[in-house]
Amino acid sequence: VRRFLIIVALTGALSSFALAVGVSSARASCSSNNGFVTCQYWNASAPTYCCNSCCVAWNTYSPSGYWYTDKMWRPVNNWASVYWLNSTGVHGNVSNYGTNPFWTKGSWGYDIGYCENDSGHSLSSVTCQVYNWDA
């Protein structure tokens, strides 16, 4: 009987742990590998521009100086945008409301990849990744 009770207790504890792990969200950061930078930004306080310095993706980070994929995660049903832009202006952009993640892909030249929280309020988490390939 004791063994049975111990098994019941252990099963309950393990289930709770699995649930807790399942709902926890991943933290993000910038990392450099083979000359390019993949930026993931953890946005706790939700500034308007989530990828400001972290995801600046000009020729500093890329061997070719060109980016291809700008991908963004945020809670659905919030307006958000990904942009390609440089000093001459916006070269391409995608804004979305109900798709997560969403991305834009293409080659527009030397640009920064830009992610924007357009929800009008703070978001619990925003992740942005910029790649120089079709990712």
């Binding site: 991908k71 942009y83 832009l85 916006v90 952009n93 109900g98 834009t104 924007e116």
Partner: protein, 206 residues
């Protein structure tokens, strides 16, 4: 010895009773939650006829189309052409994933959220120049008309084709000039979504 056996039996019975009551409670909770049917306006696979038709199946994305993110790629035989072949969609982990032009992603799979449409605003080149910006996205079977209203009051409408709609904006309009997008259902219900996009600050550019 007899007392211990009696206590053990009591413990066993108590534990069994707790498990029985708890299990029944959990089961009834699950059943209650499961009784609410999915909304016909949710962006779930069952609400897209084109995703359930063999006529729209395509073997692969066109070579010029950007591929989906590796983690979200369609499996063989699950790719469908939407609109007039301008968009492609597939099911990935119960979500409808799509790609069209420079944009792509996976729609909210919540079965109870009444989206009606997904809304994407995009511009493939310089703002207010070159190719015009677009409002486009998935539209469930029940949506019959989509209307975009610009900040200057201009309205533009489109009818979805194979669960996809596209509204081309005037050449001098930017995506952040859109103020509202509405979807009309077959019963005349209007789903409205305000758009509040900020143009990116030029000072942020290198």
């Amino acid at each position: 010895m007899a007392v211990r056996r009696f206590l053990s039996r009591r413990w066993f019975l108590a534990a069994a009773l707790i498990l029985l009551v708890g299990g029944a409670g959990a089961a009834s909770g699950v059943m209650r939650a499961g009784t609410k049917p999915p909304s016909s306006l949710a962006l779930i696979p069952g609400n897209f006829a084109a995703l359930n038709s063999s006529a729209t199946v395509r073997p692969a994305l066109p070579s010029q189309a950007p591929g989906p993110a590796p983690g979200y790629a369609p499996s063989a035989g699950t790719l469908h052409a939407l609109g007039h072949g301008n968009a492609f969609a597939w099911i990935h982990n119960s979500a409808v994933c799509w790609t069209a032009g420079i944009a792509g992603g996976c729609a909210d799979p919540s079965p109870l959220t009444e989206h009606g449409i997904d809304i994407t605003l995009s511009d493939a080149d310089l703002s207010r120049q070159g190719e015009p910006a677009q409002v486009s996205g998935l539209a469930v079977d029940d949506v019959v008309r989509i209307t975009a209203t610009l900040k200057d009051g201009t309205t533009l409408s489109a009818t979805p084709a194979n669960n996809w709609y596209e509204i081309t904006l005037p050449t001098d309009a930017a995506t952040w000039d859109v103020a509202r997008v509405t979807a009309e259902t077959s019963s005349g219900r209007i789903l409205s979504q305000d758009v509040r996009l900020d143009a990116p600050a030029a000072s942020q550019a290198p």
